[in-house]
């Protein structure tokens, strides 16, 4: 599972990691979260989603969670996933890059001139 060199994080993979950073979730829930977060401008199809999940699991960045929903009636179809420690690190690394891009965009005047101290 765990590989020596850090595998590259694709855009879709980051969306999944970001969704799971807020807590464990199942595939369908991730789809909804991404669509909602991005206002519908990013929509993961089932193909992309489940293949991405499989690849992230194979790389040891996410792992299947034992399904803890006690208030829900327990849906046997759902498969819950959560971040591993390595997954969290990878997500944080990528998030830092995203933040830098957003900063550069702000400096270039692309954003509505947010208050930026520096």
């Amino acid at each position: 599972m765990a590989k020596g060199n850090p595998p590259p994080i694709t855009p879709a993979a980051f969306q999944v990691l970001l969704a799971l950073a807020r807590g464990r979730a199942h595939g369908y829930g991730i789809m909804g979260f991404v669509s909602e977060l991005t206002g519908g401008s990013v929509q993961l199809g089932p193909g992309t989603l489940y293949r991405t999940l499989s690849r992230l699991a194979a790389d040891g960045l996410v792992e299947e969670a034992p399904d803890m929903s006690e208030d829900q009636p327990h849906d046997a179809r759902r498969r819950y996933y959560q971040l591993t420690a390595r997954g969290w690190e990878a997500a944080a690394r990528e998030a830092e890059l995203i933040r830098r891009l957003a900063g550069a965009a702000a400096e270039a005047g692309l954003l509505g001139r947010q208050e930026r101290s520096a």
Copy 2:
């Protein structure tokens, strides 16, 4: 050139648009800018760069600039590009999305807990 529906902005395309948002530049300069901005974690190969530039130009998001360097000895090889109005809008739209992702990452605790008012 200009198309009816807004063409999707690929990751590489956004890097190029972001670089050009700071001012006109030539291909090789864009490569260096992207590599420097991202600390080397993102590197556009020549294939990706020039194909992306061609596609952006065909979509009317960038256009060739007439080369205005007066202090430089004028290098005839260089081809300068700059954003069009539509290119700026597309870049701004994409930058807004990036900013939202960064915000979500911060809320999830992925970033080093930057000061966020809300």
